[in-house]
Symmetry: C2
Subunit: 241 residues, 2 copies
């Protein structure tokens, strides 16, 4: 039971009762995986809800011999929630990117506790809304921006996340980043060199932002596309938003 202490305080579970939490984790697993392990395949049915406890996971999808990355997940993201709830086939495949520890909760438990615990229901719906909105942002990013613009905004996001000290290391290999940004590895290379004109330097996986203002002026980041969303609802919005 103490196996699940680390997730007990996550927003998803914070508000629910102890007995509901116990019922939820009954039959659940915590499991360690090496890098590049296939976890689930699109088209299969959803037996477990997954939570990334440590490491990183790639969601991807294929069609007609092609493949693309849809999302990179970090602690404590969840995946397969929608398929779990609808008891429907996965629309995406998942594999570990790095060594990862994952928590797997039986779908049946999620569905039944949802019915009995209002707080959990609210947390689930908030998490689901978060995933949905992330997907819409993803789609807007893809349809409204060119490849170079997507890369520029990716760099701006990490620049801000890493404390704005002007440099960071790419957390994934460029091949995967290219797929995530909807382009080929060759094109990503050229996109990086195109960004030299906008104040970005690249050496291996080391990114240096020499002139943040120029990069941002080019990238034009937009809160309605690029903002990172929290799971909890802002019940009392502060300021003009």
């Amino acid at each position: 039971m103490t196996r699940f202490e680390e997730i007990r305080s996550l927003p998803l579970f914070a508000g629910i009762g102890d007995e509901a939490f116990a019922a939820l984790t009954r039959g659940a697993y915590v499991q360690n995986f090496p890098p590049a392990v296939d976890l689930i395949n699109e088209g299969e049915t959803a037996d477990f809800l997954y939570i990334v406890a440590s490491g990183s996971v790639e969601l991807y999808a294929g069609w007609n011999g092609r493949e693309t990355s849809v999302a990179f997940l970090r602690p404590y993201d969840t995946f397969i929630l929608a398929a779990t709830i609808k008891n429907a086939p996965y629309l995406m495949s998942a594999r570990t990117m790095t060594k990862s520890r994952l928590i797997m909760i039986p779908s049946e438990n999620v569905r039944s506790i949802f019915e009995t615990d209002t707080e959990f229901a609210r947390a689930i719906v908030s998490e689901l809304a978060k995933c949905y909105r992330a997907s819409v942002r993803n789609l807007k990013n893809e349809k409204l921006r060119t490849a170079v613009e997507r890369l520029a905004n990716y760099i701006v996001k990490h620049y801000r996340r890493e404390g704005e000290d002007g440099h960071f290391d790419l957390p994934v290999e460029k091949r995967k980043l290219a797929a995530r940004l909807g382009m080929t590895p060759e094109n990503l290379s050229r996109a990086f060199s195109a960004l030299k004109n906008h104040g970005v330097e690249v050496e291996g996986s080391r990114i240096t932002i020499r002139e943040p203002e120029r990069l941002i002026a080019f990238a034009k980041p937009d809160p309605l596309i690029d903002k990172e969303e929290t799971r909890e609802s802002p019940r009392a919005p502060s300021g003009i938003a």
Copy 2:
């Protein structure tokens, strides 16, 4: 009260109690709109949950002077559910495409009835999961297919929906369809003529599928991208799925 009879039997409300339904629709509107009316703008905050009672609505988004269509809605689709739940800004704008009747339910009502009515909570989460999955399908369609392939699959979908009798009329003008499929009107024209080689004929808004097998062989429709999803969960999945 009788104003809302037409939605009382929708899956979203079918299972909930009469008093909860009354509370939900207290302060709600039913309103008629002419075509091409702006309903909401991305970035605003969510005061109402919308339901399309008749007509059709376009969800679209813009960035840096560009604009694209994200979805076409029909009766009885909902929109703005995620923003309503999270009390967060809309990520998409909406406008009517045709003369439409819309039902508007105050967001506050949705959030409070969600807490008190388990059946409604379940319906909400199922609807939200449906929207999320539709968005993922949308994204896969965009990232994995070329423009001509997207058009081919659009035609296959309507061919099947309209009873497979070999012809149908486009429900929207080509300009909008182009935006929905992620291309320019000029390119859509060329895509249509490219499909002549795959058994499709076009005359104005009249589409004739001369050789369905050839079209389908080219389009390669995939249930994990193209299937239309129902709101209700298949609790007892039949067959291999």
